[in-house]
Symmetry: C2
Amino acid sequence: MKVGILGSGMVGQTLAAKLVERGQDVMVSARSPEKVAAWAAGAGVKVGSLSETAAHGAIVINATKGEASVEALRAAGEANLAGKILVDIANPLDFSRGMPPTLWVSNTDSLGEQIQQAFPQAKVVKALNTLNAGLMVEPGKLAGGDHTIFVSGNDPAAKAEVSRLLGEWFGWRDIIDLGDITTARGTESLLPVWIRLMMAFGHANFQFKIVR
Amino acid sequence: MKVGILGSGMVGQTLAAKLVERGQDVMVSARSPEKVAAWAAGAGVKVGSLSETAAHGAIVINATKGEASVEALRAAGEANLAGKILVDIANPLDFSRGMPPTLWVSNTDSLGEQIQQAFPQAKVVKALNTLNAGLMVEPGKLAGGDHTIFVSGNDPAAKAEVSRLLGEWFGWRDIIDLGDITTARGTESLLPVWIRLMMAFGHANFQFKIVR
């Protein structure tokens, strides 16, 4: 499958490399392509502009920083996103006051909703924003994969497809469909406790499990 | 141990009844004592005013509604709380716009901090605000108790004592000390996802586990 990953930071690179390993045709966007050229060549990942990357993907993943996401998606081009699944894994984290960051939108709104509102023709599915990148692509390396992720979105078929792909690509087994895109308020609100757990543990190799 | 529970709603009653079962000397506060008299007599729980209940407790539990907590604690009396552990299990839930509720304080502040600030001589420990009352007092009835709760507070000895008591009283084994009372911003932020999970499942018999 052709996958376009907007953003080539640590999270974007981790996703891209694993998706290539799993046989997908992956392009990442980079503002300074020369900075990721060596990595991309080694990993077998294509590199393009935001709009080239969005056009490449049959499915598009937003792995840009939350504060830059809407602007990056505008540069990616509404037409390149229209009708496609857009997996939003970003978080509205504001580090301007240091650690721990706050959320610049929360409680009565979410970044997932803002993106869906700005790009009404995209099928936004909020997912994978509640754990570190290493675990996103290899859940089995912690407790045999016995932990939980979530999907939020307005299009049931898009959520089902994302859930299927997360299982096929990475081995996810426990994926809870929380409801429409407003439920991204719930999963984005996991960040304040996730960050404090990371600070308490001194590492990010942990995960939420919903026991039921 | 003498335990004062402020509030005799469902959560206060559940805690009180289990604590009596576990041999504690428990008083709950009630605005209309006649409404809880029959229950209290059956459960072996004393009933008093807010100030009588706070005075009774060697340890005090805030099980009032979040929106009424600071006012209830003022009525309980600063002197009756001074030097004592005050376990705050309330959440700042605003139901005025219907379901799901929002938080009326979040992200940059928390109810736990507001209570600690209003009652600087109390040793506030935020705990048990992340799950339903039945599981608070009997974690073993879900997955053999293999799930997680949190403590937040400025006094390490108070957090250690609360953690010990939660183990002794109810059987809690996995209790994470997140840090000072500002980390209540993290656990109170679990409510937006907890509520949406409850709405998705149609029941509240689930719990967070931090897999690590």
